[in-house]
Symmetry: C2
Subunit: 429 residues, 2 copies
């Protein structure tokens, strides 16, 4: 849907007095609040600018603590009308921040934390962004939400549309993991399975968005959608006692959430919500070597990203042409972070290490994050007292096939004490 047709159809719907406009991250050009994500002047990415004086009048640690146990406790920093709009919510966010003592001991980090976003309604952090996008869409009169997806986003769009009574159209590569497909189709959306990669799907959806009046969460609704990512960092700071960590490790696909975590940290500092003297964390990105265009550009000292053709089991982050790649590079460098990659073997080891040491079963993207964490720790990146937080963004059963073949083979034992005693002689004295 073009900006003009939306204006004609719905006029300027409300988004709250605290939302000032959209602003281009590249050239600074301002645009009214509409279903669009591309600067009309320079084609740069648009993002939401708030009236921070208005936000500051509303928000406080106390107002947040009095809010719901979901992302909507931060609604003063989300782009929806604060008085009129009822959020479309399934209780996403406010997930546990786990002090990882075992994994930390193994890596020499006394203050290692895991933000466990596997515990979201559809098992990934995408529920945060979809809750915001769906709410914005309904607020602005849209009746269909859509997406280009590597799987997790499709799960979430289909679920939230079902809950809201909206129509969902999800466009995915046809060869996704079985769990990602069934975790979408169970909600009965329209699924368009494309013979191609995610990057093909994304190009197709960009064209499609001009022909239909759907809200594509990660295209024409991207400025609003991506704001939901910030809540991961808001929560992390709140759960650390209103303190920012020294470093945050984030899996990088399009780079969208990486950029928004930087924005979130800045907002927390500027609004005085974190302890005074708080500094920006280092932002570090994690990629799979089989799809590591940003890590490659980082290590090569480049400021732009050369697209690649993905070849990795970490399907949820297999984006070969990351739209926010250049911004990831800039933010990592400005804050002292890095962007690193790990092999397929290392990422599976990362899943296993996380599970065995901390009791958290993550999908492949989580394995990438933990493997990058491990490699950096072994390379001596930290002294030991730094507060490091790794974002674990998706649940293990979504990609169970990647670890199933490595599970121990079990030989059934008869249901008798004697048989068990014989088989497990070392275990049972």
């Amino acid at each position: 849907m073009s900006t003009i047709s939306l204006l004609e159809r719905y006029g300027r719907a409300p988004s709250g007095a605290h939302v000032a406009c959209l602003v281009c991250r590249a050239c600074g050009h301002e645009t009214p609040v509409e279903a669009t994500n591309i600067c009309e002047r320079c084609f740069g990415p648009l993002e939401v600018r708030y009236d921070y004086e208005e936000v500051a009048r509303r928000i406080s640690r106390e107002s947040i603590a009095a809010g719901p146990s979901s992302i909507w406790r931060y609604r003063d920093l989300l782009p929806v009308d604060l008085e009129e709009t009822e959020p479309i919510t399934l209780g996403e966010g406010f997930t546990p921040l786990i002090h990882a003592r075992n994994l930390g001991a193994e890596l020499g980090l006394r203050n290692l934390y895991l933000k466990n976003d596997t515990q979201n309604p559809t098992g990934s952090f995408k529920d945060r962004v979809v809750s915001v996008a769906a709410t914005w869409a309904r607020e602005h009169g849209l009746t269909t939400i859509a997406c280009a997806s590597t799987g997790n986003l499709a799960n979430s769009v289909a679920a939230y549309a079902a809950h809201a009574g909206m129509r969902a159209v999800v466009v995915v590569p046809s060869d996704l993991e079985p769990a990602k497909m069934i975790g979408t189709s169970i909600f009965r959306p329209t699924i368009i399975a494309v013979d191609g990669s995610y990057d093909d799907v994304n190009r197709l959806c960009t064209e499609l968005a001009d022909c239909v009046d759907w809200g594509f969460c990660n295209l024409n609704l991207r400025p609003y959608y991506s704001e939901g990512s910030k809540t991961l960092t808001f929560e992390t700071a709140e759960q650390l006692g209103w303190r920012l960590p020294d470093e945050i490790i984030v899996p990088v696909a399009s780079g969208c959430q990486f950029v928004k975590h930087r924005k979130a940290a800045g907002e927390l500092i500027d609004l005085g919500l974190v302890d005074s003297g708080s500094r920006l964390p280092r932002f570090t990105g994690a990629q799979a070597l089989g799809c590591s265009p940003v890590a490659t550009a980082f290590s090569g000292g480049e400021t732009t990203v050369v697209p690649v053709r993905p070849a990795t089991i970490a399907r949820s982050i297999a984006i070969g042409n990351p739209s926010d790649g250049a911004d990831v590079l800039r933010i990592a460098r400005e804050t002292g972070g890095v962007v690193a990659s790990v092999t397929e073997e290392e990422l599976v080891e990362g899943i296993e290490l996380l599970a065995a040491s901390e009791g958290i079963f993550a999908e492949t993207a989580g394995g990438v994050t933990v493997a990058v964490l491990r490699n950096l720790a072994r390379a001596g990146r930290w002294e030991g007292d730094e507060t490091v937080v790794a974002y674990i963004t998706g649940a293990g059963l979504k990609t169970a096939d990647c670890v199933a073949s490595r599970a121990p083979v079990l030989t059934p034992v008869p249901a008798s004490l004697r048989a068990v005693r014989e088989r497990y002689a070392g275990l049972i004295s």
Copy 2:
């Protein structure tokens, strides 16, 4: 481990001044706090009795609200030392209570709520009980936690042991769903895969428990373990604004949690935590017809349960010889509830109905619960304004195979706008 050996080895370890003793639910005989679940006098089930005067001095709506966003906000009503013990926690509980407007409209219930316990650390409500059992075990010097399991409990015991750095031994039927097996083995416990049913496994573990010094969560730790179930009902009341619903629908396997929800409601009333004048909810049980010994006894007017041989895809609740079956019958009748069963076809429809109407993807047990809810609604059980809460206790990806064959078959479409337009002509104008 026998009671005596535990006493000799560890003495009377602390469980907090608020825990009075264990008491037999059948004969009332009192026993000291130990790793045992069977009354030495009559072989009845033991449960925890609190010093409610001590509890009343500590607990209030405010003290609960000031606690963590997990089951441990109710620690004054859990059997661990309140000052000394650090809980073993992965952030279990305090899951969303969803107002199910779409499903409610379909069933003629304006105040239908779903307690979504799929959003727990390992995807089921078992994390509540295991968190308490593991904490009690460590508090009392045990180093191994174990269980007899239909799958979900094994997932949880393995995860919490990993997180706590304890040893885990899980005993399961060898033919469990693949997702339940991988969701256990990823945490690297010792898995004993038994050639037999859950009831065989349970019998075996009862014998095994006499030979080893392990804490079997659902055997010798059962009095403590089962207390964790109460938090589901505590949360429901708190999330309803400190009000008890008119009816609660719970899947019934052993009957353990059903009994504890009744206890929880009684505690909330007796301690004045819910609004004065609050009455006990009706407690209604849901079973799969292929394993419905309690529902059969209920409809036959019996007070005891005749064991059956399970034959249902609802594996997580396929217990043919439910230890708390008679108590489920009594509580259902005393409160005005029922115990009902549904066919395999109905339970799969229940999964699909829940997903399509509310965006929640549940495992087979959740399908059973929703199908029973639907059948009762269609039979005219409710007038429409009653507050009814259904407990959705496990995540859909754990039993994805049960619905995978019913998903629409997708034919891939080429990655071109023209091809999509042709294929989806009705969708894209």
